[in-house]
Symmetry: C2
């Protein structure tokens, strides 16, 4: 019966999987991928009709999988979260310093914000659009935003920050404020996210390593200074 | 003819003004006040029917005043902006230092964010919800957000900041990121907005005045220390 939900408007072939072709998993993933994309581009106010049309899924199938659109909003954020995390947070195998691992997130944000398709952090956008802090989507948004803060706190602890919890909150604030700036200005961040995060890292005692190439100018060895060494001039 | 638009669902009496009772100004203000309130509480996706019902204005009147709902969104932000500015930015008659005048904005944000009705900065929320950077409402949002940044830059210049333009951008980022935090967490800011702004002011050279009472602990004169003066203990 559920095979019928695959008929019609599918434009992208489903990847080959060992599950039967009519498995609800495929429909679910397709619905959530379309929902995540549509909600991010147009807002969570997109109606069920438009959503099902974009996903190539019947409304009947949607309501077999989810009790309400509210649940689709929440589940679509959950589905997109690991991809968003991978796009931002360095892997466990990346053995750079805590400072560099934290700045990596802001460098990624600078890159993402330069895209004309950037519409801010999907979790913040969802929470702002839903208005109700008890909406299932707001709860999922909070959980995933907390995961970023946890990453910052863990790195801050490893780096010996004076107050890792405060620093993690501050870095999340810079992340979200910089994202808002990119949306409001409809412009890339031009380094201000990295510069601001680096300033807070300096203050918290996560110092710049000797070989660093991040934002602040490094001291130039005397012999390499243009115009010679002024201290001896 | 336009007198008919006042009939019916008005719940709040219009203030007495020297203009004739059926003047479009009254209808316009009432529509925009209702729109600003409704869009902030429920999002800019609220339909024209619901908007006109809340305002006690007929759709016909609305379309006599505005070509489209998009224009109502833009005009309602413009209408709310002076009140929002007054709630945040100290007056010209407030002769505290630039540092204190800047921190005043963050103290006000801390107070606003403690309300269960806080839904973030109305300009950022509108830009995020509208998605299109060319929407008339997005343009108005950007203009009013820029006014806050201009206030910060002007104060930063007066205070002798090392880079007033950068500091103003950073403070706007902290303002917007802290606002997002309050929305996502559905919680007050508990001082993190003021603390973060103060840290950036320190870094930029807008130093704490001797009589300051802001976030950082001040040295306590020896004779007033609880438990006596430990340096002599």
């Amino acid at each position: 019966m559920q095979g019928a939900t695959y008929a019609g408007v599918m434009t992208t072939p489903l990847p080959s999987t060992p599950v039967p072709p009519a498995a609800p998993t495929g429909t679910r993933d397709r619905l959530l991928d379309a929902a995540a994309d549509l909600f991010y581009r147009e807002g969570v106010g997109v109606g069920v009709e438009a959503l099902c049309r974009a996903a190539g899924v019947s409304k009947r199938s949607m309501y077999q999988l989810f009790a309400s659109k509210d649940e689709v909003v929440a589940a679509s954020l959950d589905r997109v979260a690991p991809r968003y995390r991978t796009a931002l947070i360095p892997s466990e195998e990346d053995h750079r310093s805590p400072r560099e691992r934290i700045l990596h997130v802001f460098e990624r944000l600078e890159a993402l914000s330069a895209s004309p398709d950037f519409r801010g952090c999907p979790f913040v956008a969802t929470a702002i659009e839903l208005k109700s802090p008890r909406h299932p989507g707001s709860l999922v948004a909070r959980r995933h935003k907390d995961a970023l803060t946890s990453f910052f706190r863990q790195e801050a602890e490893h780096g010996g920050a004076t107050d890792p919890t405060l620093l993690a909150q501050q870095l999340t604030i810079v992340y979200d404020g910089a994202s808002s700036r990119a949306v409001v200005q409809a412009d890339a961040l031009h380094g201000v996210a990295v510069t601001t995060a680096a300033a807070l890292l300096d203050l918290a005692g996560l110092s710049r390593p000797a070989h660093s190439t991040d934002d602040a100018p490094q001291p130039i060895p005397a012999g390499q200074r243009p115009g010679g060494d002024r201290t001896h001039g």
